[in-house]
Subunit: 267 residues, 2 copies
Amino acid sequence: MNSTQVTTVNAPIASSPIPGVYLIGAGPGAADLITVRGARILAVADIIFYDALIDMSMLEWCTSTNMVPVGKRCGAHSSSQRFINKQLVDAASKNLVVVRLKGGDPLIFGRAQEEIDALEQAGVHYEVVPGITTALAASAQLKQPPTTRELSRTLTLTTLPGRCSHEDHKTSIYYMARDQLTEVANTLMAQGYPSNTPVCLMESVSLPSERGFACTLDELSLGDVHHHFLDRQPVVVMIGEVYRKQLQLLSPLIRSESNFAALQAVS
Amino acid sequence: MNSTQVTTVNAPIASSPIPGVYLIGAGPGAADLITVRGARILAVADIIFYDALIDMSMLEWCTSTNMVPVGKRCGAHSSSQRFINKQLVDAASKNLVVVRLKGGDPLIFGRAQEEIDALEQAGVHYEVVPGITTALAASAQLKQPPTTRELSRTLTLTTLPGRCSHEDHKTSIYYMARDQLTEVANTLMAQGYPSNTPVCLMESVSLPSERGFACTLDELSLGDVHHHFLDRQPVVVMIGEVYRKQLQLLSPLIRSESNFAALQAVS
């Protein structure tokens, strides 16, 4: 065995963050799926503005007591984007280490552009710390690569139910589409995806409350399935031939309805 | 300001990993862009099989002295996949905590399927710990979301230069395509992408040696550009209207050739 002796056993050295705004991806939910860089900055931040989607266990990384909930969550009250931008710029102007903690990766469907524009305009020092986006965390939980050499070498991430996926009918993962899944299914079948294409639906990825369901594309088209899911929980929808095995491994979506009322009641 | 007092300041508690194989994403290169979960498992692993693409600073997380380089890197010698599979299964059968450390995310173009199949077949306990895939790390470095509400709500990740991207001509990010960029450019223009579509090329993302270049799609098609890049360094190629600003911010690819010989000499 071709082993290498290693003498250094210390963790790589961290440099203290300089004052400014850090747009940090919290990852999918589990507190230890944030990056080391993100966790280290959280630990020394002076003030943290966090999304409603952030799992509260994530905030245990923080030593600051100045934690400000902001952001949007399916239908719930949210701070306006302009007010969030102003708060970030104001805090940075006080020479503080300011964290803007966003679910998943800050730049994947995270509406970061407006905050970035505001920070650029104000001339504030800012950095982006990437996070594990939900599609990849869901793949890890399923232990299923979204691309394989045989079946798909293309992965599309989208929020648009009414548009096509890749023309070769490869793997597609939909964010924020839980209320439009009939449209997703009908669009894909109209574009030539086989009606028995496997679909995985993953709710609350990486949290103890995670649930996964599977169905085929024609089953997905049968009716509104958003009522299978708990209120205010994010759902990621993964579609492609690579998920054939998950049809056996996950709960069938079509038979899950009977369990739903009980779950919804305790949530 | 709607602040919340937090009394808990401890980092979330880690549970010890049980014996088995952990497929861990190392992230793009910088040691602190691994997840906390990944770093914690590395710190207690009995044996670590790591890819040639892993930056050596990452291995400072490990306390084990049993580190085995495996895996593939552009043209260099590599262990055969079957041999890697056998090593993973053999190590797990000794009741060890075994890490398979892969660059980026283990499931995004990481050829994990064969290892997963081998572990499944051997009945070995295994888990997948996601990592920051290079496309997202490159986006963070550029501070540029690959999707914005105005310009693109779809992101395609692919390794296939000869195939189309999304039919709406949205953002595409290519992995492992550095030797086929003329084909990438010509294919996209044939599919209707405007010839002045911006292209960003990011080498060694997140490492001190990171370099970024920009050009337009017609410039990319002008000739083989792989000789602009250092040998054996991964390059990610990001194409889409969202990168218009980067045409001003990054070095123009087309004028970078004169600096290249010197860089290649010192690498």
